[in-house]
C-alpha cells in the first residue's frame, strides 16, 4: 500500500474519527463508518448504563487540529511528507485523551476480547477493542479506544476475538507509565458472551 493511500485510509477508516471528519469536512462519497457492534440503549434503572465506543472519545478532542489546511490530494506516493504525517497522526492517536466525564461511571459496553493473562481458571486480564482484528491487521486503535479489563472473577471459556459484554466501573490508572493518562481500565463485575438481540 502506498503511503498516501494508507494515510487516507487510516484517516477515513477510523470509526472514531469518522463522525468528526464528517462534521469538519463532510467529504462527498465517504460513508460515515459505524462501529460494527451497536450498543443497546435504555437500561433498566439501577443497571449499568450501556455506552457506545464513541462516548469514550472526549467530545472536544479534535485529532485534526494539527492537520488542518492540508490538502491530502497534493501528497504524492512515496512523498516523505506523507510518511511523516502518518507518523505524526499515529503519535496523536497514541496520546488520545480519555473522556474524563466517563471516569467513575458504571457502564456496560460490548467489544472484542484480546486476551492478556489466560490461566486455568479463565481470563484474568484482557483488552477490549471496538472492532475485530484491532491488532496487527490494521493500525492499532487510538489509546482511548482500548479498555484494559480486569474481571473480578476469571472469565472462563473466552478466546481471542470473542465478542462480549462487560460491565463495571471505569477508571483511568495514572501510573508512572507511558503517556500520562493511559487509557481506560474497568474492573469488570461481569463478562458475558455477546448475543445479538432477537426481534
Amino acid at each position: 500500500m502506498t503511503a498516501r493511500r494508507s494515510l487516507l485510509i487510516a484517516l477515513l477508516a477510523s470509526p472514531v474519527l469518522a463522525p468528526t471528519l464528517a462534521l469538519a469536512q463532510s467529504p462527498a462519497g465517504v460513508p460515515a463508518m459505524k462501529p460494527p457492534i451497536k450498543a443497546t440503549p435504555a437500561p433498566a434503572p439501577g443497571a449499568p448504563r450501556t455506552i457506545q465506543w464513541e462516548e469514550l472519545v472526549p467530545p472536544d478532542w479534535d485529532p485534526f487540529k494539527d492537520f488542518r489546511g492540508l490538502d491530502f490530494q497534493t501528497l504524492d506516493d512515496g512523498d516523505p511528507k506523507a510518511a511523516a504525517l502518518l507518523k505524526k497522526m499515529r503519535a496523536a492517536w497514541d496520546a488520545a485523551p480519555v473522556n474524563e466525564r466517563l471516569v467513575g461511571q458504571v457502564v456496560r459496553i460490548p467489544g472484542f476480547v484480546v486476551p492478556l493473562e489466560d490461566t486455568n481458571d479463565g481470563l484474568k486480564e484482557f483488552l477490549l477493542v471496538p472492532y475485530f482484528g484491532a491488532c496487527i491487521h490494521s493500525p492499532p486503535p487510538p489509546a482511548n479506544q482500548i479498555i484494559h479489563v480486569l474481571p473480578r472473577t476469571p472469565a472462563k471459556g473466552f478466546r481471542s476475538m470473542d465478542t462480549v459484554w462487560i460491565s463495571g466501573r471505569i477508571s483511568t490508572p495514572r501510573t508512572d507509565s507511558y503517556m500520562g493518562v493511559s487509557g481506560y481500565r474497568i474492573e469488570a463485575d461481569s463478562v458475558t458472551r455477546y448475543e445479538e438481540r432477537r426481534r
Binding site: 497514541d94 484480546v114 486476551p115 492478556l116 493473562e117 489466560d118 490461566t119 486455568n120 481458571d121 481470563l123 484474568k124 486480564e125 484482557f126 483488552l127 484491532a134 491488532c135 496487527i136 493500525p139 492499532p140 486503535p141 489509546a143 482500548i146 484494559h148 478466546r159 481471542s160 490508572p173 501510573t175 508512572d176 507509565s177 507511558y178 503517556m179 493511559s182 487509557g183 481506560y184 481500565r185
Partner: protein
C-alpha cells in the same frame, strides 16, 4: 431384583470367556476416550501455564505460533535470529518496562539450553504470575568470573541426578547421542529451580555470554581445526552477545501493547515479529482443534464398535441360551424378567468395562506421566476426572444400557415353546 442379578451373574460367569473379551474391548475404548481427554486438557493447561506476565514475545519474522512454540515451549526451530541491536531498540521504547533476551539452539542430553540474562529469574512468570523459585543454589552470576555457571530445571536435576556443583557439558544442536560436544568448556551447576510443570523444568539456563564463549572457536557451524580456545582464555575475548533467538517483553502499561507490537513490526533494521502470547496460543488451538476433535471422534467410534460387539456377543449367546431362558420361563419367570436379565447383563458388562477402562487410564497417566514430562514437558495431572471425562464415561454407560436392550428385546419376543423345542 436381587435374585435376578444373582442369576445374571451366575449365567455370565458361565460364559466368562467371551464376556471377558467384551469387557476388555469396552475397557480399552474407555481408556482411550478418557486418556485422550486428559491429554487434551492437560496439554492446553500446560501451555497456558507456561508463560504469564509477559506482554509480547519478539522474534524474527515467522508464524506467531512457531515463534511461541520455539521461544516459550522449546518445540520446533527458529527461522532466524534477532540482532541484539534490535532487542535494545525495543527495550528503549518508552512503553517497555523490561526485556529478557532468549537464545536457544544448544542442548544438554536432549534438554534445551537457554541462554539468557539474570533478569530472566526476576522477570519470568508462569502459571498465575508465579515467579521462578530455587529449590537449591542460586541464579548464575552473569559475570565473567561466573561465566561457566548453569541453572537447571527440576526435571533435569531429577532425571539426570544433578545437584549444585555437578559438571555438565553442552552439546551443539539438539542431538542426544551424536551431537558435537562443547567438551572443552564444561559448566558447573549452581542452581536448581523448583518444579513448575512447564518447559522450564527441562531447560538448562546459562548466560548469553557463556553461549558466546563456547562458540568462540567455531566458524561456519563447526569447530575450527587447530584453533581451540581454552575455557580460561575465552574470558579475554569480547563476549558481548550479538544476537538472540527471541525476547520476552514486559510493558509499563498493557494498553500500549498494540503500539509496541506495531513498533516491532515496522522496525526498519530487521524483519521482526511481536506476538501476544495468549493470542498466539488461541491461534494454535484453532489450528489443532479440528485434529483434536477428529481424535476424539475416532475414539468415540472405537467405543461404539466395542458396544456393538457387546450386542453381537449377547445376541449370539441367545441361541445357546434358549434352553436356559426357557427353563427360567418354565419355573415362572415372565418375559419381562428375561428382558431385565439380559439388560442387567449388558449393563454389568458395560459398567465393568468402563470401570476397568478408567483404572487403565489412571494407570497410564501414572505410568507414562513422568516420561511425557521428561520428553515433551507435558505434565499430566493426577487430579479427579474433569467434567468432560465424567460425561464421556457416562455416555459409554448410557450407550451400553441402550445397546443391551437389543438382545433383551429379542429374548422377550422368544416364545416359551421355541426354547423348549429348539430346532437343532
Amino acid at each position: 431384583m436381587k435374585a435376578l442379578l444373582a442369576i445374571a451373574w451366575a449365567s455370565a460367569l458361565n460364559r466368562r470367556g467371551t464376556l471377558a473379551l467384551v469387557v476388555a474391548g469396552i475397557a480399552l475404548a474407555t481408556a482411550l476416550l478418557l486418556g485422550l481427554e486428559r491429554l487434551r486438557t492437560d496439554i492446553r493447561a500446560g501451555f497456558s501455564q507456561s508463560v504469564s506476565g509477559t506482554d509480547l514475545v519478539v522474534g524474527a519474522r515467522t508464524s506467531p505460533i512457531q515463534l511461541m512454540l520455539y521461544a516459550v515451549f522449546r518445540v520446533g526451530g527458529a527461522t532466524n535470529n534477532v540482532s541484539m541491536d534490535s532487542i535494545r531498540a525495543v527495550e528503549a521504547h518508552r512503553a517497555v518496562a523490561w526485556v529478557v533476551p532468549l537464545s536457544l539452539g544448544d542442548s544438554h542430553r536432549g534438554r534445551p539450553v537457554l541462554g539468557t540474562t539474570t533478569a530472566y529469574f526476576e522477570r519470568f512468570r508462569w502459571g498465575d504470575r508465579q515467579p521462578l523459585a530455587f529449590s537449591a543454589g542460586r541464579p548464575f552470576a552473569g559475570t565473567l568470573d561466573g561465566l561457566y555457571e548453569a541453572v537447571i530445571g527440576a526435571e533435569v536435576a531429577e532425571t539426570l541426578g544433578y545437584a549444585p556443583g555437578a559438571r555438565i557439558t553442552l552439546t551443539h544442536g539438539g542431538g542426544e547421542v551424536l551431537g558435537v560436544e562443547h567438551a572443552d568448556k564444561p559448566f558447573t551447576v549452581v542452581g536448581v529451580l523448583a518444579r513448575t510443570g512447564t518447559p522450564v523444568d527441562r531447560t538448562v539456563h546459562v548466560s548469553l555470554e557463556a553461549l558466546e564463549a563456547i562458540h568462540l572457536d567455531w566458524a561456519g557451524g563447526a569447530p575450527i581445526p587447530g584453533m581451540a580456545i581454552p575455557a580460561e582464555a575465552a574470558r579475554k575475548f569480547d563476549l558481548t552477545p550479538k544476537q538472540a533467538t527471541a525476547a520476552l517483553v514486559g510493558l509499563k502499561n498493557r494498553v500500549a501493547v498494540f503500539n509496541v507490537q506495531r513498533f516491532v513490526a515496522e522496525y526498519e533494521g530487521e524483519a521482526l515479529l511481536a506476538v501476544l502470547p495468549a493470542v498466539a496460543l488461541d491461534e494454535l488451538w484453532q489450528v489443532i482443534g479440528p485434529a483434536e476433535q477428529g481424535l476424539l471422534a475416532i475414539s468415540g467410534l472405537v467405543a461404539v464398535v466395542s458396544l456393538a460387539s457387546l450386542v453381537a456377543v449377547v445376541l449370539a449367546g441367545l441361541n445357546e441360551r434358549r434352553r436356559e431362558l426357557a427353563v427360567l420361563r418354565a419355573v415362572g419367570a415372565g418375559p419381562r424378567h428375561v428382558l431385565l436379565l439380559l439388560a442387567a447383563e449388558g449393563v454389568l458388562v458395560t459398567l465393568a468395562g468402563v470401570l476397568l477402562g478408567a483404572a487403565l487410564a489412571a494407570a497410564l497417566v501414572l505410568g507414562a506421566g513422568p516420561l511425557l514430562q521428561a520428553e515433551f514437558g507435558i505434565t499430566l495431572s493426577r487430579a479427579a476426572p474433569t467434567a468432560t471425562q465424567w460425561a464421556l464415561a457416562g455416555a459409554v454407560v448410557a450407550a451400553g444400557m441402550l445397546a443391551s436392550l437389543v438382545p433383551g428385546w429379542r429374548a422377550y419376543r422368544l416364545s416359551l415353546a421355541d426354547g423348549l423345542s429348539p430346532r437343532t
